[in-house]
């Protein structure tokens, strides 16, 4: 029996790789297609790096979801960083507050089925994404 949930601290570069590997194995267990696996892993790679770069580190929670006949994977990224003052702007293609091309959040959103951004200035940011099997 493999766990249906995994908590991953994000404190260094190699944790981003670890997130990718764990999300990949969950996506395979949820029987996502290869393209959907790749989209989800890419999205979570962006989000894990955001947590590290902008949030100053944090944690990821990856869960296997079952709803009727379909299965899915939920990944949540939480940090206690500065938060995002203007979420509409942060979700715009090409907008970046730091290094990168500003595709992290907006790009990640396009790659998943459900996307939730919860942020408060001075408190931190939590981004949750879900990808379902078809």
């Amino acid at each position: 029996m493999t766990a249906a949930r995994e908590d991953i601290p994000i404190a260094a570069d190699e944790d981003v790789v670890r997130v990718r590997q764990i999300v990949r194995s969950f996506a395979q267990r949820a029987k996502l297609s290869l393209v959907d696996q790749t989209k989800l892993v890419t999205a979570t790679s962006e989000l894990a790096r955001n947590t590290l770069t902008y949030g100053g580190g944090g944690a990821a929670v990856v869960e296997l979801l079952g709803e009727g006949r379909r299965q899915g994977v939920r990944a949540s990224f939480q940090d206690s960083g500065p938060g995002i003052p203007d979420t509409a702007l942060a979700l715009t293609d090409g907008w970046t507050s730091g290094r990168g091309m500003g595709l992290g959040l907006s790009g990640a959103r396009r790659l998943v089925d459900e996307f939730d951004l919860d942020t408060e200035v001075g408190r931190g940011t939590t981004v949750t994404v879900v990808k379902w099997s078809r």
């Binding site: 989209k39 892993v41 890419t42």
Partner: protein, 125 residues
């Protein structure tokens, strides 16, 4: 902290070949960028081939590094071709909204080398 993974760079004629076989950490990609710049200046190579046939995801950071490697190579009169991109990776990159700048792409190593040879002929040295 784990050590930086050094990606081997092979020289074939005046082309440098880097075949990425590991799950890349950001600092591995940065190291590759530096190693390639040094190797181009040391060898006078006119082409760089990045083989990503074993790479199962390219996110915006890794993609941007490919573009940076290509731009840096141009300063040393070398062209860069990325070869072997997996279909799932290509589909994801398009949806992510990433363009690879001046990076040329080819289906496989053979076609990549052909592109470099052609680029070399067009600008005789």
């Amino acid at each position: 902290m784990s050590a930086v993974e050094r990606i081997p760079i092979l020289k074939i004629g005046d082309v440098l070949l880097a075949s990425i076989q590991v799950d890349l950490q950001d600092r591995d990609v940065l190291a590759l960028q530096e190693d390639l710049a040094e190797k181009i200046t040391a060898t006078g190579a006119h082409g760089v081939v990045l083989d990503i046939s074993a790479v199962d995801i390219v996110d915006s950071f890794i993609g941007r590094m490919f573009a940076t490697i290509a731009a840096t190579s141009r300063l040393f009169d070398a062209h860069t071709v990325v070869v072997g991109m997996r279909p799932a990776v290509a589909i994801t990159l398009v949806e992510l909204g990433l363009t690879l700048g001046e990076v040329r792409t080819a289906l496989d190593l053979e076609k990549g080398l052909a592109i470099l040879a052609e680029l070399g002929e067009r600008a005789p040295r």
